[in-house]
């Protein structure tokens, strides 16, 4: 069976700065991949390559066996840590917009019955994510958690095959994060979407994923930190692995932090 996503010896370098080196992976549809790693290790870069807003400088990144299109499309949704909703549209409009793009090529705007249909689809989804009471508010009137709920609903209206989440809950309070975890797990089970989610929080990664990736550099050159890139240093199926492995990852991180390497060097 062809995997949904396959990375074959993927490199990404910006000039002399090698960010990712030799990343290999196979991901099947329906998995929930959580990606952890120190900041600057190329997690966002990897997501951007899956999205199509960036491409590998060497190697191949395949979507169902074909090279990933080199621009974003409706089959791959994304939620950024911030700035992913449209400030000039109400909550309801933010979500129905995806349907308007699809059903009204010229004006990107629906009227009459077709508009009411799109809105009722959007309203249903918004109710699922817990925003049914805030349909007519503008994003600036929403809390951080509500904005992320909106961003998630906005992406899911297109029924994407892949949902990319780049530190989506990084800016939220711990209590609200817990609610968001249940929300995203529920939606993942319900829709069967394949999720790639980066996070700073190792525990969050353990808790949510079916599989955890750790991005780290294998080799370090203290004089020239950009000489070597990061790759997937751990690829762990969660729920089945020994707890010792998780302890080991956590211990490695503590060691790195003590050595003064809080970012990816």
């Amino acid at each position: 069976m062809t995997p949904l996503i396959e990375a074959r010896r993927v490199w990404r370098e910006y000039g002399g700065n090698i960010v990712l080196e030799n990343v290999n992976a196979r991901v099947n549809a329906g998995e929930f991949i959580t990606i952890v790693g120190a900041s600057g290790c190329g997690k966002t870069t990897f997501l951007r390559m899956l999205l199509g807003s960036d491409s590998p400088s060497r190697g191949e990144l395949l979507l169902q066996g074909d090279t990933i299109p080199d621009e974003p499309g409706p089959d791959r949704g994304i939620v950024f840590q911030r700035y992913s909703v449209f400030s000039h549209l109400s909550v309801l409009q933010n979500v129905s917009l995806g349907l308007e793009f699809e059903r009204s090529p010229l004006l990107a705007r629906l009227f009459g019955t077709s508009r009411r249909n799109a809105e009722s689809t959007a309203r249903e989804l918004l109710t699922t994510v817990g925003l049914g009471h805030a349909l007519h508010r503008y994003p600036f009137e929403l809390s951080g958690g509500m904005q992320q709920r909106l961003a998630i609903a906005q992406s899911l209206i297109k029924r994407p095959e892949i949902l990319l989440l780049d530190e989506p809950f990084g800016a939220l309070d711990p209590g609200i994060r817990k609610d968001m975890h249940e929300l995203i797990l529920g939606l993942w089970r319900e829709t069967g979407v394949t999720v790639f989610m980066t996070t700073h929080d190792l525990e969050e990664g353990f808790y949510l994923g079916t599989r955890l990736w750790v991005f780290d550099k294998i080799r370090h050159d203290p004089d020239n930190p950009n000489r070597y890139g990061a790759h997937i240093s751990y690829d762990i199926p969660l729920g089945k692995c020994q707890p010792e492995v998780l302890d080991e990852i956590a211990a490695n991180r503590v060691k790195a932090t003590h050595a003064g390497r809080s970012d990816c060097r």
Binding site: L51, R76, A108
Partner: protein
């Protein structure tokens, strides 16, 4: 005693403080004018307030003896039409080229240097060219305003479009939008309030170019009248006209600001909460 930087005037104090310099200015004029007129009743430099009223009454409320027109309103209408056309056209040009240059790297590469060069040419220097090409009629005056302010609006708007975060543009693409759809549903609504800001900022220059063009070649208009009566040192007409121009400029600025707040509440952080709460009760009632 609080620090000076922390002292805030109350609402009443703010209005009072704002009016104070104006009142002082009027008072100073009054005293100076009185003193000069006492010395020489024929002094034309600082007419009494009564002369202003007489002059405006003559121009605004009595038909002109020769043409039978009400000159003041004629001048106002002519100038407003020119500035309205000039500013409106500039806004449209600014919007189209600003979005095209800001959003599409290919267009930007082709047009940006040209726009920069045009914006560096002093518009007054090409006024003769405009008169030669477009004649002495309305078109050349409108064109002077357009050439004078549209490069600024284009460049300002291009900057605003480029400030739209990459995440937002990527997000729209993941929702299936093509370039045109991104323009009409994301970029255009996001920059419209900023266009109104740019237009407000360019109103001062627009008036400058209007008055200049009218001073040189026109047969009516506020600028034309001021420069015409200058020959007779008619300060009693010039000063009220200047005040009237200032008032018109202020009214235009205020209307644009009010229009913007009304059209784009999200831009000013004006919530739809009140509306939303009534809506959601309605929804709740319907579902109940």
């Amino acid at each position: 005693m609080k620090r000076m930087v922390n002292l805030q005037p109350s609402r009443a104090a703010r209005i009072g403080l704002g009016l104070l310099p104006l009142v002082l200015l009027v008072l100073a004029y009054w005293l100076a004018s009185d003193a000069r007129l006492a010395e020489n009743p024929n002094d034309k430099l600082m007419p009494a307030f009564g002369s202003f009223i007489d002059a405006i009454e003559r121009l605004a409320f009595e038909p002109n003896k020769r043409s039978g027109e009400y000159l003041f309103w004629n001048d106002t209408a002519a100038s407003l039409k020119r500035i309205g056309l000039g500013v409106g056209l500039s806004a449209l040009i600014g919007l189209v080229f600003g979005i095209a240059c800001g959003l599409l790297p290919l267009v930007r590469a082709g047009l940006s240097p040209l726009v920069t060069i045009i914006s560096l040419i002093p518009p007054m220097a090409i006024l003769p060219i405009l008169f030669i090409v477009f004649g002495l009629g309305e078109l050349s005056k409108v064109m002077l305003i357009v050439i004078g302010i549209s490069p600024f609006i284009i460049r300002d708007l291009q900057g605003r479009v480029m400030e739209i975060s990459q995440e937002i543009l990527i997000k729209a693409q993941t929702l299936g939008a093509n370039t045109w759809q991104i323009v009409v549903r994301v970029v255009l609504p996001q920059v419209l309030p900023r266009l109104l800001d740019a237009v407000r900022l360019s109103l001062g220059s627009a008036w400058l170019f209007l008055i200049a063009a009218e001073a040189i070649a026109a047969t009516e208009g506020l600028g034309y009248r001021i420069f015409l009566v200058r020959r007779y040192m008619s300060m009693d007409i010039i000063l009220p006209y200047v005040a009237w121009i200032a008032l018109l400029a202020f009214a235009m600025d205020w209307s644009l600001k009010t229009l913007s707040r009304w059209l784009f509440p999200w831009y000013f952080g004006i919530g739809a909460s009140d509306k939303a709460s009534t809506e959601s009760t309605k929804v709740a009632e319907r579902t109940a």
